[in-house]
Symmetry: C2
Amino acid sequence: MDKLNISYCSDKYQYTMGKTFYDLGLQKKIAVFNMFYRSAPDKNNWAVVSGIREALEMISGLGSEDISFFERFIPGDENHEYREYLANMRFTGNVYCMQEGEIAFPGQPVIIVEGPLIEAQVIETPLLCIMNHQMAIATKASRVTRATTKPISEFGSRRAHGPWAAIYGAKAAYIGGCMSSSNIFTSEIFGVPSTGTMAHSFITAFGCSIAGELHAFETYIKSHYGEPLILLVDTYDTLRCGLKNAIKAFLNNGVDDNYEKGFGIRLDSGDLAYLSARCREELDNAGLKKCKIFATNSLDEYIISDLEHQNARIDAYGVGDAIATSKHNPCFGNVYKLVQIGGQGVLKRSEDKSKAINPGFQITYRIIQNGSFKADVTCLRGDVLSRKIEQREAITLRDERDDTKVTTFKEQSYDFKPLQIQMMKDGVMMLKEKTIQEKRNYYLSNLQCLNETEKRIINPHFYKVDISDDLYDLKEHLIDSLVKEIRDFDEPELK
Amino acid sequence: MDKLNISYCSDKYQYTMGKTFYDLGLQKKIAVFNMFYRSAPDKNNWAVVSGIREALEMISGLGSEDISFFERFIPGDENHEYREYLANMRFTGNVYCMQEGEIAFPGQPVIIVEGPLIEAQVIETPLLCIMNHQMAIATKASRVTRATTKPISEFGSRRAHGPWAAIYGAKAAYIGGCMSSSNIFTSEIFGVPSTGTMAHSFITAFGCSIAGELHAFETYIKSHYGEPLILLVDTYDTLRCGLKNAIKAFLNNGVDDNYEKGFGIRLDSGDLAYLSARCREELDNAGLKKCKIFATNSLDEYIISDLEHQNARIDAYGVGDAIATSKHNPCFGNVYKLVQIGGQGVLKRSEDKSKAINPGFQITYRIIQNGSFKADVTCLRGDVLSRKIEQREAITLRDERDDTKVTTFKEQSYDFKPLQIQMMKDGVMMLKEKTIQEKRNYYLSNLQCLNETEKRIINPHFYKVDISDDLYDLKEHLIDSLVKEIRDFDEPELK
């Protein structure tokens, strides 16, 4: 397999647009791009940030291809100078990001890229590709893990969209609350705890018979004694032979409630609520009270929530495709929009005014009282509100779409955290790399600061997400002047 | 970025199961595994095969990690010999695959792996990971491209699940009927034609004004004159300024119906049916009859089909997330099941008998009359029916679930093709690599052999998919003996 140079896993148009910027000498003009999303998948209202590390590595990789690479898709003598420029072009700007494990709300910049126009433009595609994937998976993992207090293992490599998605998706799933992953590389690269049991093919390899199943269980225990032992019991018939064979295999081979490494059975088909209750009963009767029951089989947050409501006797869940492909909503909607160029705020208009993007160089503050997140507000950097917040002065937040909705925080009554942290300065990474466990713990600690009603998997309450008056005014001003200009431009022809 | 060794992008349990096989000396026992799917996404009834090349490369990569790699997830002195075995283990078996661009029906082996047990077992996860991804995308691309006779460009790298999914997904989309891709690497690696236009950020980089939009268009044309020129017209207001600016920019810069490289506008928001009609009218009035209209904006097969029914004046479509993530159904359901071990057929039972897998070493024949695909039948290799088919003798196919449904083909009245071709022999690749264009053409020629009613995107007719009597009998025999064995096993305790 070739090395996958993700920095150039891009759309061709990034480079054709770049050519025009280059021809005009705009390559050093300073641009600010925001990466943000408009609505979270599965009506979740918020999303879990993951992928920042890979995004920054991708940005750092700009300049790693030589000129021959560019010749292949930007041919022609007339492009020689531009190709030389690209081959020598490293990223020299600044990048501000939310941390992995942060909870991001719609419209907030998850990543802000401030740098020379072409450098900042061409990274759009790989940046979105990395971030949309990982935020889809991390957010889905958050939903699935919120459906139960039991541990969830991520098992979905076989359904992920290729090996990259398997490895980095499992990373995102761990940050989003999963307990472990089945993927070898995710464990190797990130130190995510790994889990694994056995497949049906392991059982059938011992011949298609009940005796074969028992033989499979017993030899597995013998060759893995001293490790966690989880036997898959539904190959032929869970209650009539699988469970009985498992109990026999455990007891015949010295595995009982004194076994210290953990042991259990896995149910992968049938009525999991019913089967788990029956299995629990028979395991208890056999004196195997510490034998855990794992459940798998196309599980998602809704099915798990339902099993929990039925008091299924399940100790842990394994989830595959629902998390690995973010099955109900595989397409996470981060976009990357130019918000400022040469110091001037810009925006793309939208027919629906409420969808117009926030222009200018921004920063988002999270307002915290007594360890609870109360509201977020996105400001222009250094604007009136941001200065007040930094001094913890009294502030009033107004809902952008309904100015009768007003919230006031008294001076010194709140704490705050700015959500976008500078992680790259003049092209140099400033990121103090955290461990995957720290990122996961950060997500879990953030989750604790949300209200219970905001964490529901169905119909969660909306959290307060606002913009500052100065940002609002800049946006209104840009839209109004555009509308006026369009009216004046168009009218002569309407007469 | 590290090199991504896809051969080992696997679930840990493949290697823990392997340990038990190794301890029992089963590593050289010959196993046969089938990779197949049970139902196609989006009720499509059939799927497009893609990913075979990468799957075979993955299999060939077994043995490319040294012993230290295995130490990290199979630690312990007691595993030293097993780790040495794994580090030296290359794949030495045979692989039979459908060709890329083949049309595969449920239950048919898309890939058959015949080889020593551990070698054939451990490739399960990466094989499914590659194939599930590419078959999801190729099948979705097939659906989207069947919704119109107009060309479809694949634009979805930014929404794909990471860079691997972007690159190889775009490859699969091309095989499934797309005309081109925006991804640079897909074009580089596979020779897929590349396309690209411009983004809204290109327009807003010239300042948030109508004059800026015109400036953006004109400079783009100047720096790309002699290439295809497609201007994005909806940044501020499609009809009131975008289209007018585009027409002005074309005419001011010598781009008219005599321009040979192709030119057009792109609509990315609003009512595409209405806007395309209005744009067509104004373009025609301006004498730009050859100016093409491209449409994008969260399109999928249903929206495109609807636009076509409204006679939208759209010349080509760009499709992003719907194809790149197989949005409605991201999880393709290929599974990898042991069907034979040491010459004996095996199966995993299912509560639903109709879901029991087909055991034994199989081959699927496609029966063809007058250039039309009439029926498929999966046989045990060398069984009675397969010998008849190979001699083009008279055959009778029986529906597995309803034996009143019978189809007869007279002798010499039909042609046939076996669908699984041997592509690896004793671990050596036999694949004569085809170009991506050949694979796409193969898919398109297959599509022509299906009945129109089988190609509908909603409620397609079912194509006839059967199994041979010998395969049926083996399956029944295995299930019956299992059921009998389970009854006998269970009864003593019920008394």
